[in-house]
């Protein structure tokens, strides 16, 4: 459930204010999780064209990768569905060290 009592940290309110400031905004959303996942389905990470971000889709494990994908999505305008899980070689680079598996939908605002 979304908590609205900490407005400054609410990604969707931040996305709206960034949009009103004329910034290009991408929204990443956790749409599916399996096993142990640090952030529940529905969690958001919002990213602007300079790579500034707020919110989270994991415990910091895959944010870097989501942000770089978001840059491409901002350019192309085409949404992407990303999948992250533990892969042996990449577990400590891009992947969830907790053993979980998540799908993240990345789209451009507007």
């Amino acid at each position: 459930m979304t908590q609205l009592n900490t407005n400054e940290l609410d990604p969707l309110l931040i996305a709206e204010s960034w949009m009103l400031d004329g910034r290009d905004v991408a929204i990443a959303t956790v749409v599916e999780t399996w096993g142990s996942a640090p952030r529940p389905v529905g969690s958001h990470l919002v990213i602007d064209e300079k790579g500034n971000f707020e919110g989270s889709v994991s415990g910091g494990c895959v944010e870097g990768s989501v942000i770089s994908e978001a840059m491409d999505v901002l350019t192309s305008g085409e949404p992407r569905l990303l999948e992250f899980g533990v892969a042996d070689e990449t577990a400590w680079q891009v992947g969830l060290s907790c053993g979980g598996h998540i799908k993240v939908y990345v789209e451009r605002l507007g």
């Binding site: 459930m1 979304t2 908590q3 609205l4 009592n5 969707l12 309110l13 996305a15 709206e16 949009m19 929204i27 959303t29 749409v31 599916e32 529940p40 389905v41 529905g42 085409e78 949404p79 569905l81 799908k103 939908y105 789209e107 451009r108 605002l109 507007g110």
Partner: protein, 237 residues
């Protein structure tokens, strides 16, 4: 995401109304659906269930993949009465994830010393609730057992469809309260939804134990909100 959808969704969230963002994962189109908006077919059923459970997720309907992101307002607890039980409730409610507020016009009770880290209104409920209305995602616990303070708040809570309305007092005290609420025109059905005596029956004796019983009863009511859903569905039918 459509900028218009984001604005519309945030308006609903700021106003503490339940809303859902439906995204077609195939073409990326989205739309905002408010609780009670009619949606036909299988998708409508899935949406109604999502509002009940508060669970977001991907659903397959008619060979298409949709993501439903459910935004329910955070549950709130309004306590009428700045008494000992309320003091014990402050830290408990916070841990359970409830935004808590206390209303009590009695300045001797409602002091900042006794209630340093909670929103406290040292005013009559009728004055506070005018500018600060109750809603379906709010629980009201009236614990002053003074009719002058509790009664108006109970009436307002029943009319606002609060998911939980509880009132402190013995069965005898409550019987008199029922008569007064009938006298202001509330239906017996509505009055019967008041939890009184307040709190789950766990044999609570101390103020802190009563606070546990009250909070547990509130959590039970919130998780069982399905019971009030048939009315919502009827309204839209």
């Amino acid at each position: 995401m459509d900028p218009y959808c984001l604005k519309k969704l945030n308006i609903e969230r700021r106003a503490r109304r339940a809303a859902l963002l439906l995204t077609d994962l195939g073409d990326g189109r989205d739309r905002v659906i408010k609780e009670g908006d009619p949606v036909a077919g299988e998708l409508g059923e899935v949406i109604a269930k999502a509002f009940l459970s508060g669970q977001s997720g991907v659903v397959e309907v008619d060979g298409r993949s949709f993501f439903l992101n459910v935004h329910l307002p955070p549950p709130r607890l309004v306590v009428i009465g700045a008494v000992h039980i309320s003091q014990a409730l402050v830290p408990m409610a916070r841990v359970a994830g409830y935004d808590m507020e206390i209303i009590d016009p009695r300045t001797a009770f409602a002091t900042p010393e006794r209630f340093s880290d909670v929103r406290l209104f040292t005013e009559w409920p009728q004055d506070v609730l005018k500018t600060h209305p109750l809603d379906a995602y709010t629980a009201v616990a009236a614990v002053t057992h003074d009719p002058k303070i509790d009664d108006y708040a109970l009436e307002a809570a029943l009319k606002a469809g609060c998911f939980y309305v509880g009132a402190l007092g013995s069965r005898k005290t409550h019987a008199k309260r029922v008569e007064r609420l009938q006298a202001v025109g509330l239906s017996d059905e509505s009055i019967a939804t008041i939890h009184a005596p307040i709190g789950l029956n766990i044999g609570a004796a101390s103020p802190a134990e009563i606070a546990v019983a009250v909070l547990a009863e509130i959590i039970e009511a919130f998780r069982a909100r399905s019971l009030r859903m048939p009315q919502t569905l009827e309204k839209t039918a």
